[in-house]
Subunit: 233 residues, 2 copies
């Protein structure tokens, strides 16, 4: 049965964080938590009576720093991360096809969706897919740095994510236009970058975006590869 996650938003980086839980168990999973929202997230877990089983990352972010390490250390949760992102200190290195279980038989399926970064993963839980920066609402993540590849992103979205049932809800890693959630069916038909566009057209489009370098990248990526914890600490 479909269950919505709880969706939280960091206005400074426009990042969504998700809390997943289901009836029958207090165990929960948090996806892509942001360092400066640590207190907010801990208070949500406390108010909802939830116990964190996993801190899950979709990739090594370039635009904000994760609180995964701190959350792990404060709650006893395990950090679970994509194997190809160089996030060494995590307890679990996830690969395509892995299934993460928590709570009363809840299952999270791991789907390797490279393109925004080579290691990026999406996570499927109860009719929801958490797409990180691979598929955004009416858009997609950039592919011009940090092992990005428009070619790989095209396959990840059109062959893997668009192969999910139309009514699967799409919960992205960011939104910059006040939108919160979409569906596979809608994105397949209407996504401004990926619907009805050939691979060649998509690669050309992505190659011409000329986006500025993310301000935080030189700090954020190494920090996130250490789960947001101080190096050598």
């Amino acid at each position: 049965m479909h269950l919505n996650p709880i969706q939280l938003f960091d206005t400074e980086s426009s990042t969504f964080t998700y809390i997943l839980s289901a009836p029958g168990s207090p165990e929960a999973v948090i996806v892509d938590p942001v360092d400066r929202q640590l207190e907010r997230d801990l208070r949500h877990l406390e108010r909802l009576g939830l116990k964190l089983a996993y801190v899950l990352e979709t990739h090594a972010h370039a635009d904000h720093v994760t609180s995964a390490g701190e959350l792990r250390d404060l709650t006893g949760a395990k950090a679970a991360v994509p194997s190809g992102c160089g996030i060494a200190p995590a307890e679990m290195q996830l690969n395509d096809g892995d299934v993460l279980t928590f709570g009363n038989g809840e299952m999270i399926e791991v789907i390797h969706t490279p393109g925004h970064t080579a290691g990026s993963m999406s996570y499927l839980w109860r009719g929801n897919v958490f797409t990180g920066d691979t598929l955004l609402i009416d858009g997609c993540g950039r592919t011009d740095f940090q092992s990005g590849s428009a070619d790989a992103l095209y396959d990840s979205v059109t062959r893997k994510l668009f192969a999910l049932p139309d009514d699967v809800r799409v919960w992205p890693g960011h939104d910059y236009k006040g939108q919160s959630v979409s569906t596979v069916g809608w994105e397949k038909r209407h996504n401004a970058r990926l619907a009805n566009r050939s691979r060649e057209e998509f690669i050309k489009l992505m190659g011409e975006l000329n986006l500025p370098k993310p301000k935080l990248i030189d700090i954020a990526v190494p920090a996130n590869q250490n789960l947001g914890l101080p190096h050598g600490g």
Copy 2:
């Protein structure tokens, strides 16, 4: 079984809007929509493949204007409002104990919770209570204008809302501190204004707040009593 709503946020007025739906039917209900977010809300309904059955208001708001009338006219939904709020053009005037049904047997229980305004209602659906401005996370709505009463709010919260099971999730009408959701159990034990405080202490506290008059009140209340539609339109 507990289902989370979809929670949307208007940053200008710090107002939460909720979309309620459940598996087995495309019918949905929206709670407290905001005028300037009409386009956002319509796009969510479209992307999710939902058909609006009801537009539900918790009270006649003083701090923002509703899009209830426009949403009703554009989607064919019915407007359902508290009977004591003077919102004349709504199809349904709700009273305490009423049950609104939608979708595949979904039931919304109407709970009269006066205090912020005399007509204010809370709505209970699948282990979630939508409390409008009656009970906020770690706080409560003001009671110093628009037929407000600290005495009535004390009863509404302590006798009605705090009588719900501890694990019922509390989804407020506003939050000003980045928090999104709470539970009855947490608010009963920790709410800064209402936990472990006598009626007399609470009334004294509310009487001493000295809050400024809401900027929009003279425009918003008459507009909202007309479902946000132009008068005489």
